[in-house]
Symmetry: C2
């Protein structure tokens, strides 16, 4: 029932979700054990099944939803802080690159590794990742539409943005280089600029 106080140590459940999110993101779902999660969360093993009777799968679903929503807010914040959508896109990719370098190329997309692992093996978790991606598409489409791009090209631009970002993360983590993020970010910014600069294309 306790949603956690505004200050002080987070609740046991919150610590488990946070630790799970970090470990799933870096090591994947099957590559992370529940024992490792409770150790990182400084929580007793039984707490996992107390808060998540559905076990690892239920914890995974909650982690996907929680970190997916947080990452969506990060995108929205970047777009709202920027003077225009093109700058917003550039800032978002630049911020992602900065985080990647600062974490030793560990922290990229919070759910991508898990998403690929479960896509063909765990239907409930696959659905959780699909809901997060769908939410991001809705979010981005709304942001670009608010900037004057038509609904259909705004959706297509968002999907291209997400694909370029996710793929750049794959390449960047493997190559240990930010070059893919820079190239992908420029590519998406250019496309956004074209859609904003030519209202006819933006309506197409």
């Amino acid at each position: 029932m306790n949603a956690g106080p505004a200050t002080g140590r987070p609740s046991t459940k919150e610590r488990i979700v946070t630790a799970g999110a970090e470990l799933f993101r870096r090591q994947g779902y099957t590559g992370t054990g529940l024992k490792q999660i409770v150790a990182a969360a400084d929580a007793p093993f039984g707490s996992v099944y107390h808060f998540f009777p559905g076990g690892k799968e239920q914890l995974g679903a909650e982690v996907v939803r929680t970190s997916g929503a947080a990452y969506g807010r990060l995108f929205t914040a970047a777009m709202e802080a920027a003077p225009d959508p093109v700058t917003g896109v550039r800032d978002f990719f630049a911020g992602a690159a900065r985080t990647l370098v600062e974490t030793g190329y560990a922290d990229a997309c919070p759910i991508a590794t898990l998403a690929l692992e479960v896509a063909s093996t765990n239907e409930p978790l696959r659905q959780a990742t699909a809901e997060v991606f769908t939410g991001w598409i809705t979010l981005g489409t709304a942001a670009f539409a608010a900037a004057g791009i038509g609904a259909r090209p705004a959706r297509e631009l968002t999907i291209v943005l997400l694909a370029a970002l996710e793929g750049a993360f794959v390449l960047a983590r493997a190559l240990r280089s930010t070059e893919p993020l820079e190239a992908a970010g420029e590519s998406v910014a250019a496309r956004a600029s074209a859609l904003l600069g030519s209202p006819d294309a933006g309506r197409g």
Copy 2:
């Protein structure tokens, strides 16, 4: 020593690598057991350690290299079969979408799931994936350069292509939709077309 005859049943080693490639691609590296691999390959368990003394990690590295090279040849073949690079890009994305649907959204990139899993957890395998991606970048850069695009924009276009493809795979498998591949493919084709259509941009 036996490299395998031109016809007949593939060698035990070949069957293990093939089965490993399919399972790692669909379920990931940590999510696939050696016992599952030898069962799929119809091989005895001990054969894994006979052919791969380094165990699972050595098998993983060989799978990454083998399937990475095969996928590179697939890209080259698509580009060579097409009348121009823009058509080649469209055909390649369309073929990827077709394969994805035919396999129930299982077979996308042969190494992406493993690449994300090992990027922060297994340095030898991370290097193997990096070598494959580097090889693909070299391959694509050469193909676009041969079509008349300058070396630097050809490299950037290749990286954008790979990022868009990999990210579209992530979204497509999670959403069970080919929309991301279509949007990403069109986006990359448009960029390739722009670089080919304006030699000045192509030289920049």
